[in-house]
């Protein structure tokens, strides 16, 4: 019996091997082009070892146009269906480094060498091979160009020491950290946030063959300046970025006008009203049956002026998929029209949570002393009826929480999410009395030690219903709170100038990789928006003590733990310092947590298949990236057989 089993296994293995070696299938769109010789056969377009994706429900079929909508011209986030491609990916279960663009990564914590192995034969969307030269070009002529980057981007340095990059051969890139332990660099291979450079999310490479046409080192400084000026740019750098851009979906210019990409789709038309994307002939992923992905032929991203219009489009069934602008406020409307619009509303999880930030380095010394009294923060937290807040602002779908990473996180500490969240105004009043705020004026509001009424203002860009409730809760325990709406710009300036008492905050990206990269919501690291709570301590940290306030010992400890996280040898070594940070948050209520685990709505048309029913949604995982939109397909929409005019 056992004997037979192993024979079957061998046969299956051989069959699998034969299948990968055998012909890959491609979309009808390209068949004619291949026959006419305008496009190489699919086997030549794919790398030797394409990434194989397993569709979650079923092998799909080719065809259809997906209509997606965005209410912002600047953030083409609804274009996320087009996809992001990172060197590796982080998975929702906190496992690291599933190779994506890369075939594999080797890291030796001992020597701190990191080796990136590329997929042989992987090609840019224009058919040119993707090699180590694309890394070396970026390293030499972009990252180290003083006009583009006056200082080397942060993530290329450990403890201020820049890494070195070398190509061993066409398919092997070696990073040398000079003995500095740097497990954090895994984040940079797989991330949405750390490798961000201004508006371009560039990764560590660019299509050298294309980008060289716009770089002064190759065309001459005068030529670059002239061309940039003729195109209306203030400098060649902006002109360079606009023409070479980033290598993936944020590209929003027609294919012929912009850099080649590695994404599943390329842009073929862009007007102020819409962007049209069509399948990338050289996309380097296949499904388990050997079909070249993606399944869907085209994606049209329509721009609308407001979320109201977007909601209208959703309920009338014009939106094929939406997961960014669909708001919980509109949930009842979405659900009411599910049948009419022939779509489903899926409720996914998020690690996000909301909080209130007290300015612990307040310029008014009396207020600073009050805010730094732990009993005050405990009292404010106990005075809030989070269940009512949940009902009023999140339809009861969120969970009352103190400021913490999610329970699933390896950094979670026992009790971290339940500290002082019960509604107990009596205890709150007792704590306030005990700390010396027991004197009240004629209106029943508590007085500071100098006899003045304790007045606090919560400033925010918009006054949400939740804030009005909080004002009432805090007034009930005798604290005079006002709300003030500002424009975001003014708010930024006031945060930077340290003029704000209290501000609503919240962490949207509460897991890796942001947590280790910049846990600004748990450690005072940012002194500009959104960094209010330890504003001056963060300034002190960032200027090496030249400006700001010297932090007290327990804040110093937080910053030290963060420094430790940044330079651990392995991913596992981060857990201890990160848990210390979380325990400090739990014990000190540095910020007042409100609600967490609010569902994130995903709206999909009923004929769109392979979309998970429930999953974790966060920008940390590049939102949809783990769920592979290239494997989504339409049940019966017709395949497009002609490529976009003049594309090939």
């Amino acid at each position: 019996m056992r004997y037979w089993r192993s024979i079957i296994a061998v046969v299956l293995l051989v069959a699998a091997a034969a299948m990968t070696a055998a012909a890959y299938q491609e979309a009808p769109m390209f068949e004619k082009l291949v026959a006419e010789g305008k496009l190489p056969p699919v086997a030549e377009r794919l790398p030797e070892n394409p990434r194989v994706l397993t569709p979650i429900d079923s092998i799909g079929r080719y065809g259809g146009t997906a209509h997606v909508y965005s209410n912002s011209q600047f953030w083409l986030w609804s274009g996320e269906m087009v996809g992001f491609e990172w060197l590796t990916t982080i998975n929702p279960d906190y496992t690291w480094g599933t190779p994506n663009i890369l075939e594999s990564v080797e890291y030796d914590p001992g020597t701190s060498f990191m080796t990136l192995n590329l997929r042989k034969g992987l090609k840019w969307s224009d058919g040119v091979e993707f090699t180590s030269a694309d890394f070396m070009y970026h390293w030499q002529f972009v990252a180290n160009n003083k006009e583009i980057y006056p200082t080397l981007p942060d993530f290329y340095q450990v403890n201020g020491i820049p890494l070195d990059m070398n190509a061993l051969d066409d398919y092997t890139v070696v990073l040398d950290f000079f003995g500095q332990p740097n497990s954090l660099f895994f984040n940079n291979l797989a991330t949405t946030t750390t490798a961000q450079d201004w508006q371009w999310w560039f990764g560590m490479f660019q299509p050298a063959h294309h980008a060289k046409q716009f770089h002064p080192s190759f065309i001459g400084v005068d030529e670059a300046n002239d061309q940039a000026a003729a195109a209306g740019y203030a400098s060649w750098v902006q002109w360079y970025w606009d023409n070479t851009g980033c290598y993936f979906s944020m590209q929003d210019k027609p294919y012929t006008a912009t850099a080649p990409t590695l994404t599943a789709y390329v842009c073929v038309e862009r007007t102020p009203e819409q962007a049209v994307y069509e399948r990338n002939a050289y996309y380097w992923k296949v499904d388990t049956a050997g079909n070249q992905l993606p399944y869907i032929d085209r994606i049209i991203l329509h721009f609308v002026e407001s979320t109201d219009v977007l909601d209208g489009k959703i309920i009338s069934g014009e939106v094929d998929a939406e997961w960014i602008s669909a708001s919980l406020d509109s949930l009842p409307v979405y659900v009411d029209n599910e049948e009419l619009g022939d779509y489903s509303v899926l409720m996914w999880e998020t690690p996000a949570m909301s909080c209130l930030e007290l300015n612990l380095t307040h310029p008014d010394l009396a207020i600073r002393a009050i805010f730094n009294d732990l009993r005050f923060r405990q009292a404010l937290s106990l005075a809030i009826d989070r269940d009512e807040l949940n009902e009023a602002t999140a339809l009861g779908l969120a969970t009352p929480r103190s400021m913490s990473v999610p329970v699933e996180s390896p950094y979670y500490v026992e009790g971290g999410d339940t500290a002082y969240i019960e509604y107990d105004p009596t205890t709150a009043e007792g704590l306030l009395d005990a700390m010396g705020l027991d004197q009240k004026d004629a209106d029943g509001f508590r007085l500071r030690s100098d006899g003045e009424r304790l007045r606090l203002t919560i400033e925010s860009a918009e006054i949400a219903a939740g804030l009005e409730l909080i004002r009432e809760y805090w007034r009930d325990v005798g604290i005079d709170v006002e709300l003030k709406a500002q424009t975001q710009d003014l708010l930024n300036e006031r945060v930077a100038a340290n003029l704000i008492d209290i501000m609503p905050g919240g962490v949207e990206f509460n897991i890796e990789p942001s947590f280790s990269t910049l846990p600004q919501f748990y450690v005072p690291l940012t002194y500009t928006w959104p960094g209010l709570w330890g504003n001056q301590w963060a300034l002190y940290y960032n200027t090496d003590g030249a400006q700001g306030l010297e932090p007290p010992a327990e804040i110093q400890a937080l910053q030290d733990w963060y420094n430790e996280i940044k330079t651990t040898a392995t991913v596992e070594d981060r857990i201890a310092p990160a848990q210390n940070i979380m325990a400090s948050m739990r014990d000190n209520i540095w910020q007042i947590g409100l609600l967490g685990g609010q569902p994130s709505l995903v709206i999909v048309k009923n004929d769109l298949k392979n979309v998970p029913e429930a999953a974790l949604m966060t920008w940390d995982l590049s939102r949809m990236v783990p769920y592979n939109p290239s494997t989504w397909y339409f049940e019966a929409r017709e395949a497009i057989t002609e490529a976009w005019p003049d594309r090939f």
């Binding site: 209509h67 011209q73 600047f74 006009e147 980057y149 006056p150 200082t151 942060d154 949405t192 946030t193 750390t194 961000q196 201004w198 508006q199 209306g232 740019y233 203030a234 400098s235 750098v237 902006q238 606009d242 929003d252 038309e269 007007t271 102020p272 009203e273 819409q274 049209v276 329509h302 609308v304 002026e305 407001s306 109201d308 219009v309 209208g312 489009k313 009338s316 014009e318 424009t487 975001q488 710009d489 003014l490 930024n492 300036e493 949207e508 990206f509 942001s514 990269t517 910049l518 600004q520 940012t526 500009t528 928006w529 959104p530 920008w619």
Partner: protein, 327 residues
């Protein structure tokens, strides 16, 4: 007349220059600039950017220069037909104006026609039949139209059109026609979508003009020359159309100049709610994103339209009413 015209044109040029300076300063008045606004957003999602990098970006965008240098650079480029680059939309400003202005003007003209065609006869009728049922009905309707914010009306009309006629919500075209070449079907689709914005914005404009015409007409109807004309046997219709109506049109003619920019202004909020591919929402986006070249160009364009419109209406007025003197 020639000197009058020349004088007006010189004033107009001075006015446009002053407007361009003021609008450029006003756009820059809020704290921060385009760059700081965007950097803030990115910082919220974990971007780290040090001072040196920020300064470098400012230099790349030309935002590090003093205001007057930026202004003259802007104006200087404009004379060469370069209106600059929209940071927010990432298109050249000229391209955006070319994409949005035609529909904006068409829509504004149709709305203007709608306003005049509806309001002038109603104004006349409600003056002639003062305190009649018709007068009351029109007055009430007019005030309701004036009182309802047009974005509310827009939402109601949009929902109504979707529920009763199945016309897709928002926009000037159904999805399949947005990108299609012009055809009879596309034109039909446009006409189907035009109703909503024209009514929504037109209703508010109508009410004002009805009131103006009614009031001026009432002033004229009691005048002695009316008695004289009646005594001489002029038919009532001819009498009203020839004398009081002509006088009542004066305020309309003298405001015709800024009606167009006015209507474009009405269309900012309504345009957002109705998702119209017109310049109003673009202006709002540009202002909130501090996208100064785009906002500046639009404001300047609207100002130029107002100034030219004023000259035209001055000329109309001088021709229609010989009592008006010019210097």
């Amino acid at each position: 007349m020639a000197t009058y015209l020349a004088g007006r044109v010189i004033y107009a040029i001075v006015a446009i220059f002053i407007i361009s300076v003021i609008s450029f300063i006003l756009i820059q008045a809020p704290p921060g600039d385009y760059l700081t606004a965007q950097v803030t957003r990115l910082q919220g999602s974990g971007l780290k950017l040090d001072e040196a990098q920020l300064e470098n970006l400012k230099a790349q965008y030309g935002l590090d220069k003093p205001l007057h240098v930026q202004y003259f650079r802007w104006v200087g480029q404009m004379f060469r037909g370069n209106f600059g680059y929209s940071f927010y939309y990432r298109f050249s400003v000229v391209y955006l104006l070319a994409a949005y202005m035609p529909f904006t003007i068409i829509l504004a003209l149709i709305t203007l026609a709608f306003i005049y065609i509806v309001s002038i006869p109603i104004g006349i009728i409600s003056a002639v039949k003062q305190y009649s049922v018709l007068d009351y009905v029109f007055t009430i309707l007019g005030f309701i139209g004036l009182a309802i914010p047009n974005f509310v009306l827009a939402l109601v009309v949009m929902y109504f059109f979707y529920k009763t006629f199945g016309i897709s919500i928002g926009g000037l075209f159904s999805r399949e026609y947005v990108d299609a070449a012009w055809s009879l079907a596309k034109f039909g689709d446009l006409v189907r979508h035009l109703w909503a914005p024209v009514i929504v914005v037109g209703v508010a404009g109508t009410a004002g003009i009805i009131r103006v015409i009614r009031a001026t007409m009432l002033d004229e109807l009691g005048r002695d020359y009316m008695q004289v004309a009646r005594a001489k046997g002029l038919s009532e219709f001819k009498l009203i159309m020839k004398y009081p109506v002509r006088v009542a049109l004066n305020p309309i003619l003298s405001t015709i100049g800024w009606q167009l920019p006015n209507i474009i202004g009405y269309f900012v909020i309504a345009g957002i709610v109705l998702n119209l591919p017109i310049i109003g929402p673009v202006l709002l986006n540009a202002l909130t994103a501090q996208d100064m070249y785009l906002a500046g160009a639009i404001i300047l364009l609207l100002s130029v339209m107002t100034v030219i419109g004023t000259i035209v209406s001055d000329i109309f007025l001088a021709m229609a009413d010989p009592r008006i003197r010019y210097y």
